[in-house]
Amino acid sequence: MNAAARSDPIDSLLMATGARLPGPAGPRDDILAELRDGLIEAAEANKRNGMGHGEAVQLAVRQFGDAPTLATSFWPEMAAAQARRVVLALAVTGPIVAALWASAARSRGTGSESGLFDGGQAHLAAALLVAAALGCGIWTIVATSRVVHRPYVAPRTLLLGAAATGGVAVIADLAVLSMLAVPLASFPGPIHQLALGAAMLASGTRLILTSRASWSCLAMTTSATR
């Protein structure tokens, strides 16, 4: 905490509240900006009632409540934002990674990728995993949507849905990676190797980020009880 925050009760309260709000920065910044405006308005109102500046600010801070209480009240909103962000990130990166793998498959020069997809049951399992990830993801997007009118879904369930989407996506990515990387790596050619490297790098990055995001969703479900 810096010196300014120590001396200003409003900054102190907002910093303490922000530190207890896990999830995406955008919604958190909006919440803190709105609280700051309200706190300043409350202090101004107290001053109009005859209080000195320091007393007016202190009273405004007391009127708004303590940081843990404020953070707890905004937790459901942050949970929904986090779940939605994770699933949207998966939805955006999935096609990009798939396109890179398709590009690597085409670049091997045979003119057809059909030979890569003769694995029978393994490929069926991968397709089912992708379908499961899509299902979880679509459910989370719909459940956090502002447009679609739907029954209330508990924020903890949304987070678990997003974590499940991420978990299934990780398994699906690993399955696809293991099925495509080895056969594609056996083909020579610099363009092909470059395309394959790009696909593997994209898959690896997605795997790491997805694992971290899923873990953060699970961690957030427990943070509500702290």
């Binding site: 709105e34 609280l35 405006d37 009127q63 009240s73 502002r146």
Partner: protein, 112 residues
């Protein structure tokens, strides 16, 4: 008045406070306090999340502006919110009339 008494009516109270004009969060709390003759002093931790929930439900909408160098979020009723407020108002009148009949006069079924 106890906070629990307000809880079930919080959405209606917030919608009603926005009926006349758009307001920011603190002004809504002030409007509720003034409108209820200081009977309702809504806790901040209840009002802001409730406003955000109403916005997600499409009953109110918000827009950001800059006032005195700081960001301000102002809320206003949507058409759907106005319709919902009308429904809530009708429902409340029926309910309060029924409760007044029960509590305000002689006990139902009492014999003189």
């Amino acid at each position: 008045m106890r906070a629990e008494a307000v809880k079930g009516h919080l959405d209606s109270i917030l919608l009603a406070s926005l009926e006349a004009r758009p307001l920011h969060g603190y002004a809504i709390m002030e409007a509720v306090r003034a409108g209820s003759r200081a009977s309702f002093d809504l806790p901040t931790g209840t009002v802001y999340p409730a406003l955000h929930r109403l916005e997600r439900s499409g009953l109110i909408r918000s827009k950001w502006s800059t006032v005195s160098g700081r960001r301000r979020r102002t809320y206003e009723l949507t058409e759907r919110g106005r319709r919902r407020l009308g429904e809530e108002r009708r429902s409340w009148k029926q309910f309060s009339r029924a409760v007044s009949n029960l509590l305000g006069g002689a006990p139902a079924g009492a014999t003189p």
